[in-house]
């Protein structure tokens, strides 16, 4: 049996950062659905927010984040995020990150949405990519054991404590029990639960759903970020850096319509507001072909676009056939990020002993109802590092948890019973159909604008889809690189999460941050200034409310 004191699940920024910090004191391994360098952290373009100069202040970063969160962020966690930021950026600098430099040789910073200062440290528009690869290099240096293309199947819980995992090696088509003292989830988000998303094909929320099935509390799942600028049609991300560097949003009349929605911040208002503005323009007939608006960089000049936004340019030319240095890009909002996730404290500790979480899979909660651009990359490294430290500390002082033969055998039995009836009717296409139906419901009924009866209808339809899913025969197990089997499992994860997202959105009868109810268009602090907690119950998720940690900033009206 494989044993590691600390098992990190996920090889993106949060996972690798956790692995590097934990490896200083404990035996660590990283189990990752992809080779780590292929994690979706690499697609992040804009930058890492951190206060690096004297004109800016940690205080200001905290306030911008609290306000951006529409006062749902936990202020103790936000203080940690913003205070640890500068130190982590300098640590990454020493490890070899090629940050873009200011003329004086310091780390350059650019403005991103909802921030009062140019605060994002970046490497052109490859910010996530370069840091991911630098951390991977350091993981090689530290000889950290990596299990690439292994899938987490189940968290093994013994007497209420996580004692290991059941994992599946895609290449060998074999399951393995891995014992551990601490499991750190860093599996990212569930973007593929939505038909229109910027996220990679791998982003199916596996870790979030598996934690939920094991009994961990999820929080604020109804808060889903829709990125304002994705290429029309393909929904490939066009970084907020494009607006940070001075890009304009224009409607079909050529007007910079953000003047009507956020007269001060204009294009650099927070994402929830900009996405709503774009859809409003389109809905009221001011979009191109009734479907998209323009992101215009043509006034910035070719040199700046080439130097600061080379990836944006390449993506737009390839996938939209438009060179943004000479013509505006057609864009529409699409799902981008999950504010919700596995509820954790500021050291990554979840409600299940032995289970930590960091990064997008977690809800710590620094983003509250709406995340600011540049804060998620920062979150991955700040809270990844903290979760790694806490994991090593726990591994140092705790004995190996008991993992009984019964628990391991029950888990293996439950895996193999999926395949046991042997009838193998070819039904894979139903997996595709069920998944397509679910993801279209999410985009059309649980999107930027929500309304009670559509949400109720979505919840009902999702229940039906779950029933259909349960009747499917899973694809045969025994072949290497069985992506049909993975699709089957992922569809199950997505259905669980959709149910929680839609249910939470129906329950929350107010509008806050990215959750906007046409039938309840106002924020309601009296009844709803609280986190939505979701636990797995007999017949689907059971919801309750939890307090928001407010330290310095009392809720006020949020204008930009």
């Amino acid at each position: 049996m494989i044993m590691h004191e600390v098992l990190i699940v996920g090889g993106g920024l949060a996972g690798l950062m956790a692995a590097l910090s934990a490896a200083e004191k404990a035996d660590v391994a990283v189990l990752s659905k992809l080779y780590p360098t292929r994690s979706h952290s690499g697609a992040a373009q804009g930058g890492f927010n951190a206060v690096m100069g004297e004109e800016d202040s940690v205080e200001a970063h905290i306030f911008d984040t609290v306000k951006g969160s529409d006062y749902l962020g936990d202020q103790d966690a936000i203080e940690v995020l913003c205070s640890d930021g500068p130190e982590v950026i300098l640590e990454l600098e020493r490890l070899g990150v090629p940050w873009t430099r200011s003329p004086g040789g310091g780390i350059a910073q650019r403005p991103l949405g909802g921030a009062g200062f140019p605060r994002a440290c970046f490497a052109a528009d490859f910010s996530g990519h370069v840091v991911l690869h630098i951390l991977y290099e350091q993981a090689l240096r530290r000889r950290i054991k990596i299990y690439p293309e292994w899938r987490l199947i189940e968290l093994l819980v013994e007497d209420g404590r996580v004692a290991g995992v059941l994992a599946y090696d895609l290449a060998r088509a074999k399951t393995e029990v891995i014992r551990s003292k601490v499991v750190v989830l860093a599996t990212g988000g569930y973007g593929r639960a939505f038909a229109k998303t910027t996220n990679a094909i791998a982003n199916t929320g596996d870790g979030m759903a598996i934690a939920y099935r094991a009994g961990a509390v999820l929080a604020d799942m109804e808060f889903v970020q829709f990125h304002p600028t994705t290429l029309y049609g393909t929904n490939i991300l066009i970084s907020e850096a494009a607006r940070g560097e001075g890009g304009y949003l224009r409607n079909a009349g050529g007007t910079r319509f953000m003047a009507d929605y956020a007269p001060q911040k204009m294009e650099l208002a927070p994402r929830d507001l900009v996405s709503r503005a774009i859809f409003r323009e389109i809905k009221e007939g001011r979009g191109y072909e009734g479907k998209y608006v323009h992101l215009d960089l043509t006034h910035l000049g070719e040199a700046l676009v080439a130097e600061r936004l080379p990836q944006v340019r390449d993506l737009s030319m390839r996938y939209a056939g438009v060179d943004p240095a000479v013509a505006p890009m057609p864009i529409e909002p699409a799902q981008h990020y999950s504010m919700g996730g596995v509820r954790t404290g500021v050291w990554g500790e979840s409600s299940l002993p032995g289970l930590l979480a960091a990064g997008e899979v977690a809800n710590v909660s620094v983003h509250g109802a709406n995340r600011l651009g540049g804060n998620s990359l920062l979150e991955t490294v700040v809270f990844g590092r903290r979760a790694g430290r806490r994991a090593a500390e726990l591994a140092g002082k705790e004995p190996w948890p008991v993992l009984s033969k019964t628990t391991a055998a029950r888990s293996l039995e439950s895996w193999s019973s999926m395949f046991s009836d042997g009838k193998q009717i070819v039904q894979e296409d139903s997996t595709f159909l069920i998944r397509e139906a679910a993801t279209s419901i999410m985009t059309s009924q649980v999107g930027v604008f929500r309304v009670g009866d559509e949400l109720a209808d979505a919840v009902e339809k999702l229940k039906e889809l779950k029933k259909r899913y349960k009747e499917l025969d899973p694809p045969r197990e025994a072949q290497p690189f069985n992506y049909a089997l993975m699709e089957y499992l992922e569809t199950g994860y997505i259905l669980d999460l959709c149910e929680i997202i839609a249910g939470g959105a129906l329950r929350r009868t107010e509008s806050r941050g990215a959750h906007y109810r046409l039938d309840y268009p106002r924020r309601d602090d009296l009844n709803w200034l609280g986190h939505t907690l979701a636990r797995r119950g007999e017949n689907g998720p059971e919801f309750s409310s939890g307090p928001v940690k407010i330290t310095r900033y009392q809720p006020q009206e949020r204008g930009y």
Partner: protein
């Protein structure tokens, strides 16, 4: 448009040797080869190929397209399908086929280690770097480790092409304590290294043009 994908199939559990299977799919010219492959997968869910970001940043979908290694998500159908509307897809050359289009990446990732591909930070590093130096680092740092260069070029020496890209970047990094020993670690004669740097942009999906190396 109708396109026929001719895909190399091989399942080690049942097949003695590889064979080709044709898939007829319907796609737009501006769609990618990956889009077409995903359609073929719906017809035959047992078909295996790696994919993830679908935007040329993760490097998963590197395959041989009509005999040339490249990224399926970067290649548009209208560029890949000839007048006969056919596209031939095979696993990357120089790599071992494990199943269908999936190749063994272990030797590839293992090969990186030969050049000690990490910054060994100098004690006296000031924390400042001229913008033009960081720009030089940024270009090879866009390498996505897709394996296309290893598939498209013969290894110029003991170290594989992708490992050389890492080695060259570290040679340029003023933070790195190994400095000129980096060139020795790569174990490639200077004239061959020059030729490698010259040929790389055309073979690399990210067009990496390494500049500033003094040989």
């Amino acid at each position: 448009m109708k396109v026929v994908l001719n895909i190399s199939r091989f399942n080690p559990e049942v097949d003695q040797q590889r064979y080709f299977q044709e898939f007829s799919v319907s796609v737009e010219g501006h769609h990618t080869v990956l889009d077409a492959m995903l359609q073929a997968w719906r017809q035959e869910p047992g078909l295996s190929f790696r994919r993830s970001c679908r935007s040329t940043i993760c490097g998963s979908c590197a395959v041989s397209i009509n005999g040339t290694p490249g990224l399926a998500c970067q290649t548009l159908i209208r560029d890949a399908a000839g007048a006969d509307g056919r596209v031939i897809l095979e696993p990357l050359p120089h790599f071992r086929q494990l199943k269908d289009l999936v190749v063994d990446l272990e030797p590839f990732f293992e090969s990186l280690k030969a050049v000690l591909p990490w910054v060994v930070t100098r004690e006296d590093y000031s924390g400042r770097m001229a913008p033009e130096v960081s720009r030089q680092l940024e270009v090879p740092a866009t390498c996505i480790l897709c394996g296309v260069c290893d598939a498209a070029m013969d290894a110029p020496g003991e170290a594989a092409p992708a490992a050389l890209v890492k080695g060259l970047r570290l040679t340029l990094d003023p933070r790195d304590a190994l400095g000129e020993h980096r060139l020795a670690l790569m174990k490639v004669p200077p004239d061959i290294l020059k030729l490698f740097i010259k040929n790389l942009p055309d073979r690399c999906p990210k067009g990496i043009a390494v500049q500033g190396i003094k040989l």
